[in-house]
Amino acid sequence: MGDGAIGWGGLVASMLLVLVAVGLSAWRRLGLERTILWACGRAMAQLLLVGYALAALVEDDAPVPLAWAWVAGMVVFAAVTVRRRTPEVPAAFRLALVATGSSAALSLAVVFGFGVYDAVPRAIVPIAGMMVGNSISGTVTASRRVIAELSDHRAEVEARLALGLPWPEASRRFVRAALRTALMSQVESTKAVGLVFLPGAMTGLILAGADPVDAVLVQAAVMFLILGCVATNATIVGLGLTRRLFTADHRLVRLPRTTA
């Protein structure tokens, strides 16, 4: 066990906690037993699938283009996920695709451009995965909040438009509030790290036997990258979506209802 591997036995033991969750759901009649089991089963199947695919991808002689193709696939899948979670947002797929692609490209350019890691499949795939994965919730929150802010403050936005202000000025205050909300959860996570929780990459490295200080350095780098990535993503989505919510003659379109 010293190498951090837990084996199938360890996995089965950890599933006892799933049974606890199922038991609590049944006891309190939450009706989530099947959902919990399905979610865990699905997660397991997805992770195993990805694990076996990654095993081939992170070999030392694995082709680098294949790793980039994998990253492109992740970006597309993230955009599909965003569209599914935000059906009320116009052009959600295209916006998420542009935002996630741009922010992933930016953060990966920093990582590999400055030589933080070598651009080999073993580094490309997991780092891109963390960037893209963490961007999804930021993208969803930013797009929902932009619509909610403009909808809630429609009267004030239109009062500004009626004074002859262009749409970027009329909406600026509300888009700013939406982006702040979208970013704050990531900023709060960054602030609480180490005090409240030990993040995944660091935990994994320590469990795998790495020196804790080395693990901290890796985690800090990952955290800063994620923060930059989420900020870029939310900003691109927020501004792109706002542009779509106004017509060319500076009118605010009728807005869909959001769950934000």
């Binding site: 009267a155 004030e156 239109e158 009062a159 500004r160 438009l161 009626a162 004074l163 002859g164 202000l165 262009p166 205050r173 017509t247 003659d249 500076h250 009118r251 605010l252 009728r254």
Partner: protein, 213 residues
């Protein structure tokens, strides 16, 4: 025949599958207080929003002094055609900050003159806009519109949230805009008594159709 202030030519407005205006034809005169009167949901506020181009017609043409509103620069047009809304919409900050949104860089003298036209003293410039009473806030919104020096005032049920005294003050200010500054006013109301007090011309709006009253 004088050119109307606003002309509606077979104007249709639809939103989310509902027909709000149904082939409206009307010429609003270029002078005095013109009232659009009708029950809630009749389409009278939509007519005002079409005049300010916060809405675009689904079909038909809206003209401002003979020009198709769709051909005019929207931002310039909105500054020529000032609008006061049903509920006061104070922006964050002081009254001065509010007026500067409408006219960036204006000095206090200009801002105080706009306040005076809305019957507010110059010392109000330093008041926090959110702290104003309903009537004061609505008059500040009027001043904020007037500071852009509009050629027309559109007032969308501006007294519906005000008490009798504040209502009376705003009606007087509209009359003053017409009589002393030559600014025609288009006033939307569902209150027949108010229309009787202030209207020089009235149009009845009902179920998306309009006729002169």
């Amino acid at each position: 025949m004088p050119v109307p202030l606003f002309s509606f030519e077979q104007v249709v407005l639809e939103a989310e599958g509902t027909r709000i205006l149904d082939g409206v034809d009307a010429d609003l005169p270029d002078g005095g207080v013109t009232c659009l009167v009708g029950p809630s949901g009749s389409g009278k506020s939509s007519m005002l929003r079409l005049c300010n181009r916060l809405e675009a017609p689904t079909a038909g043409i809206v003209r401002f002094r003979g020009d198709d509103v769709a051909d005019l620069d929207p931002q310039q047009h909105r500054r020529r055609v000032g609008m006061v809304f049903q509920r006061p919409t104070p922006f964050p900050g002081t009254v001065r900050d509010n007026l500067l949104v409408a006219r960036p860089g204006a000095d206090d003298e200009v801002l105080a003159a706009a306040l005076e036209r809305a019957a507010l003293p110059a010392r109000f410039l330093d008041r926090v806009a959110d702290d104003l009473s309903g009537g004061e806030a609505q008059r500040m919104c009027l001043a904020r519109t007037l500071v852009t020096e509009p050629e027309v005032l559109l007032m969308d049920e501006p007294t519906s949230a005000l008490d009798a005294v504040a209502t009376d003050e705003l009606e007087c200010l509209a009359r003053e805009a017409v009589d002393h500054h030559g600014i025609p006013v288009v006033w939307v109301s569902h209150d027949l008594a108010q229309v009787a007090r202030i209207a020089d011309t009235r149009f009845l709006v009902d179920e998306g159709r309009v006729r002169r009253g």
